[in-house]
Symmetry: C2
Subunit: 447 residues, 2 copies
């Protein structure tokens, strides 16, 4: 949601800082070898985007000194703000500090304060400090140190040649607080980021990317080229982000466009902004003072997990059960054995019995059950192929089930099944909030 | 594990294909805005790495035509194989096909077969096809089509100027099977990838990256520069990968080095290769014909999920319970209320009672319980700060608990707690397999 809500007249300065060119250099063979995900791109790109700056480029290169030097020279010539991640650690493949100092013509100096902080950290966790850790105490002679509260390698900030260089440590739990607490305020103070966020995002569910674009296109066509539109499909949700890169539309204009889109989308509209489906459900449950239980086989704990990610989940989340075997369903939820034997554990009947058992055992108002064949090992009994999922929803108005079918590997099927369950619950909660009667039979349009 | 196990003499050709320069161009504002993770880098980098090729560079750029053209020209001049992902879809921001055709001086032609496949797919899923989808039926006049079994946009393969261009669709469930089934065999046939995998990776747990390097360094020093070593720290595990980029060491040599490292590491050595801690535990449980139950508060379902990710989990996984409230613990696991009231739900006593309750309720031989304060909302009662985690392990030899403390955000704390629980179970299972007596009190070195 646009936070700059007080502005109704056109802004005197543009809503974006597109004139500032940002490049992100992510270092590490482990990224190129696919051993770790490039979460830094996701995190830093999102943070910059929220403040009106588009990351122009992300380059991931190897740990080799030559590659680092060549890429840094190129980026330094082209961009205004260069952010590097990784390569500041203690091992022999951490070379970034030395290489970049040489390109910038700077000396590295040993910082006693950092040495003490590293020693103190090792002592606190009862570990022995090896000497290679002291490498992390070398800093630029003309630069600033960004202290690292969560690790040994500090970040480094250099302003030179009218440009900014920010060097951040690789571990996400060290990089992220450092970026939010120290880097964002410095960049905003120098006019490289907006003080506040500057776009509107609509989150939708139950509608595909191309259908969404087709549906909303008449609105976008009417407004014309002052509006920039980007779509992003997740599994089970599609985001539509509207902004005005030239600044012709102000925050109130963008909100009006978004509201018109939301109106047109009806219940396919989930929320403005970045709230997860689970968060939207959680807000509804809390507002209506209802409690939810879940029981899952095919999704293996992921459904319970999305709710426990929400702060204060105890208020609305009664608990979850993860079961593979019929035994567990009978032991924990009193699902009748005869039902499982007659209909199979992957069936409408089993899903309904599981949802009902979870709601009753855990004294919940709503319950979701997910059962099915998510992956290759569970070759479908009863004629159900792999990818077959049954979801049941227990609510104060009744209990229903539906059968879905997803292509793809196990992890994809699991995520899509979780999202389908969440979206069904969301729609039911929204209906309940509006006081609408629940239809006797409901079929989701979402595959 | 090196799969080329029959080779004992030095190989006639090098173990890597480092002479082939690979670049990956990942397209999409959604990557630079941090809306989606760059899973393509992870996936493609890993697949190339396993076949002896190192991805030299990954560049992520915006969807703008100028940016795509400039980057493609640069990469085409520098690399031998260029892989692009994304930008082949139906919406207006999908421009890659047109831009690259122009740079290569190729015409795009309409392919009726693809049109029919797209129409058939929409019909199968009962959705209406909008006209913008037909854009996906345009292909290079001199190139090949890589059919897409899981989506509408086909991949494209072009050989020109002695180089290879591979264009892949963005959705992971479409890209991944296309890459494995169609792209890897084609690249291997052209000598750009090895026919088989060519390195050895040791996975370790309970030892930090710098301590691991220090411990193994004497072995690496003795062998010298023919050996290349890379470390990669995950949360809770550190991988060490040994290879011989120049080909001086053959597969058997690398296996001997890895075996010496494993011997030195003792129980900190988890496995060769990429098996997860959960998979290693699963293999042990199956081999020993034991069953596991889990109960978790702070980790919210993630612990259950890692086991259900393993194929055929029903064989060893008795089930899991996810609870926030004391009610759920009492209702599902018969944890005595007086115990929870006296010691608090985040305590050694609660963890032990939960593990015992889970093992008994679900008739399991082993049980893991995780309770604690993972995130900011759960301000620690009983003097325990956020990040405090209690883990209990129930085994045929007894039940123990331990208290851990993790810095960082909720998601980090959860993952580290899951890994700590897994590693404890793994060590206990390995001891049981060796027939060793369980010490009366055990303290993990892992923080």
């Amino acid at each position: 949601m646009v936070s700059d809500q007080n502005t109704t007249a056109p802004l005197s300065r543009p809503l974006t800082t597109k004139h500032v060119r940002y490049e992100l250099i992510t270092l590490g063979d482990e990224l190129l070898l696919g051993l770790t995900a490039n979460g830094h791109l996701t995190f830093i790109g999102a943070q910059l985007g929220r403040r009106g700056a588009l990351l122009n480029r992300n380059v991931t290169i190897t740990d080799e000194a030559d590659a680092i030097a060549a890429q840094f020279r190129e980026s330094w010539a082209r961009a205004d703000v260069i952010i590097t991640t990784g390569g500041l650690g203690p091992t022999c493949d951490d070379r970034t500090r030395d290489v970049i100092a040489e390109v910038l013509g700077q000396k590295l100096v040993f910082d006693e304060t950092i040495k003490l902080a590293i020693e103190e950290r090792f002592a606190r966790f009862g570990r022995k400090m090896t000497d290679n850790n002291l490498k992390q105490a070398y800093v630029f002679e003309r630069g600033e140190v960004l202290p690292n509260a969560n690790g040994t390698a500090p970040g480094l900030w250099v302003e030179q040649d009218g440009k900014v260089l920010v060097m951040l440590p690789g571990p996400p739990n060290e990089l992220q607080p450092m970026f939010l607490d120290q880097v964002v305020p410095r960049l905003a103070a120098r006019g490289c980021l907006l003080e506040r966020e500057a776009y509107v995002q609509l989150r939708t569910a139950g509608i595909g990317e191309s259908a969404l674009e087709t549906k909303l296109q008449p609105i976008f066509d009417r407004i014309g080229s002052s509006l920039s539109v980007a779509f992003c499909a997740h599994q089970g949700a599609v985001d539509c982000r509207v902004s005005s890169p030239g600044g012709q539309l102000n925050a109130a204009d963008l909100e009006a466009v978004a509201a018109e889109c939301a109106q047109l989308l009806g219940d396919d509209f989930v929320c403005y902004g970045h709230d997860s489906l689970a968060r939207v459900c959680a807000d509804q449950l809390r507002a209506q003072e209802k409690r939810l239980a879940v029981v899952e086989t095919a999704t293996g704990g992921l459904l319970a997990n999305v709710f426990t990610e929400v702060c204060g989940a105890c208020k609305f989340f009664a608990g979850g059960v993860v079961c593979c075997s019929n035994d567990a369903k009978m032991q924990l939820l009193d699902v009748p054995e005869c039902l499982l034997l007659q209909h199979g554990s992957v069936s409408d009947e089993a899903a309904v019995a599981m949802a009902t058992g979870a709601a009753e055992t855990l004294s919940a108002d709503y319950a979701l059950a997910v059962t099915g064949f998510a992956g290759a090992a569970e070759t479908g009994a009863g004629g159900n192929p792999v990818g077959t999922i049954f979801i049941a929803l227990f609510s104060p108005a009744g209990v229903w089930s539906k059968k879905l079918s997803y292509p793809g590997p196990r992890s994809t099927v699991k995520v899509r099944a979780v999202n389908a369950a969440l979206d069904w619950l969301r729609r039911e909660l929204v209906r309940a909030q509006r006081g609408e009667a629940t239809p006797a039979r409901r079929i989701s349009a979402m595959q």
